[in-house]
Symmetry: C2
Subunit: 347 residues, 2 copies
Amino acid sequence: MTFNDTFLRSIRKESIDHVPVWYMRQAGRYQKEYLKIKEKYSLMQICEIPDLCAEVTISPVRQHNVDAAILYSDIMIPVKPLGVNVDIVAGIGPVIDNPIRSLADVQALRPLEPDNDLPATLETIRILKKELNVPLIGFAGAPFTLASYMVEGGPSREYHKTKKMMYSQPDIWQALMDKLGDMIITYMKSQVANGCAAIQIFDSWIGALSQDDYRRYVFPTMKRIFEGLKDLGVPKIYFGANTGHLLDQWKELDIEVVGVDWRIGLDRARTIVGDKFALQGNLDPVYLLAPYDVLEAEAAKIIDQGLKQPGFVFNLGHGLFPDVPEAAVTHLTQFIHDYSKRRLSER
Amino acid sequence: MTFNDTFLRSIRKESIDHVPVWYMRQAGRYQKEYLKIKEKYSLMQICEIPDLCAEVTISPVRQHNVDAAILYSDIMIPVKPLGVNVDIVAGIGPVIDNPIRSLADVQALRPLEPDNDLPATLETIRILKKELNVPLIGFAGAPFTLASYMVEGGPSREYHKTKKMMYSQPDIWQALMDKLGDMIITYMKSQVANGCAAIQIFDSWIGALSQDDYRRYVFPTMKRIFEGLKDLGVPKIYFGANTGHLLDQWKELDIEVVGVDWRIGLDRARTIVGDKFALQGNLDPVYLLAPYDVLEAEAAKIIDQGLKQPGFVFNLGHGLFPDVPEAAVTHLTQFIHDYSKRRLSER
């Protein structure tokens, strides 16, 4: 089987014969096969068994013929070895019984040593590197998003405790950003050294911050992280939901790909960030519940916008969710490939 | 006591001696007095007792010296008489046991007759018109936000059912928008006829839609509503959380005031909507948990931006929440008045 590097070629703005596509949460609860595995194993347990974790990672590639795999893991996995008692509770999300409340709590976090702390994750990556015929994307959560769980003690809708710390105890906040920034740099280097061909930083909840708060409390850490990963030699993707208002700061970052959520059009995103970056996005995943003609029309619109300039990867504007029919994901993938092939061959 | 019409004067871009301010949810659970009342009465019960409802509405004006009152009510109150079995459940929000699932469900909704259906609300407004020395703001929920509860059956984070209806059954969706649009026009006319000096349409959850979906599925109804209220002779405010990406459509609406959430700066909002509108906003309410010097610096920044052009009302970018200290709200109000007086007198 030949290696399909369309995902990487498109990001590098090289010639492609179709638009590459992968989906956030493409391994997940909308898959019957995955649900069967989840009857026996928790998320954390799957991540501890490299063969199983590799299988879960590969399954959507086989099922839908997507152009990239993303490591099956969770953003909280590398946080646990720092000394954070985190559990992923089904139906809730990450729950932490020792939330960060003081400078001492931050100082007690120890540095990540991937080889010692996360051997199963690295072994999974090495297996996947051999078995996959598409690029493997590694990932980490971004500091704000990780910190929001660590400070709130679990998922939040409004991030009151997190923001209160930012505004009231900026020294503690910055110390936490520093620790998490270090962790992310170390972790990403290790993922790439073991076989990841690209990385994505998930800043899922960053959209809760104003432009000014982002600039003041988070942006310097993001800048340091991406500068620290400059020499990795793999493309770096930065994604967060609800980030249209932050994109004109993102364009100052050392990244290759801007992940766009569904709220703003790709045309608008391109207007804001310019033509330096590849774009990745941005179908509202709820369109996968729509009739196929409606789904296809929306996907075609996004492909047409994406293809206006080189550097485009089709994705959702947010992750797949349990109600999505598996057949719709396969259908969409096929449509994206066929439609974009037609459009590209017309050139 | 003289009538303080600074709120209306500022919206009309007339001369003012201070920046007017009111807060979304200024009557609410952060107030000890309100919590005492809530021990005996539910939200719905308070709304049925005009003297009590008027008292709850007035209390933040007395407590903080804000420049406008907003009717104490809930966006679901006028939905109940249409035939929707809605209850406001403490700690959850509106819960509906007969959600909208079909065209027949929509057709079964009957028109609102405010005099018959909501006599307590109108009596409350008449009492307030006599007792208040500041303008009274009436309000309604916007069609998308109301529909999201009616279709989901309760609060939602992702609005899957609502969007699925939009995408899959656009005729049912439009019929629902039409019914709710009619209700809102009728309700707002009645509120103004009974004494409201301004109205605000809350589209709390509209930020979940993409620009294109908003344009297709919601904007025509918003256009019809505000055109239907053109001759009311009172200023119309439109607010939704997380709406930076929608503002350049909002500028096509017959409104006088654009409510801005905290994510984008007022400068940016003005760049998008132009100088036709007054702006209202946009402090992240979590700043009320910060030390006063941090709170004041942020408020001063917003006032400086707001005063760059005539037409500004200080507000939060979202509602007050239970953890906010009452004293911080009083302090902020005083600061806004003092600081803006100084800035205005320097001109």
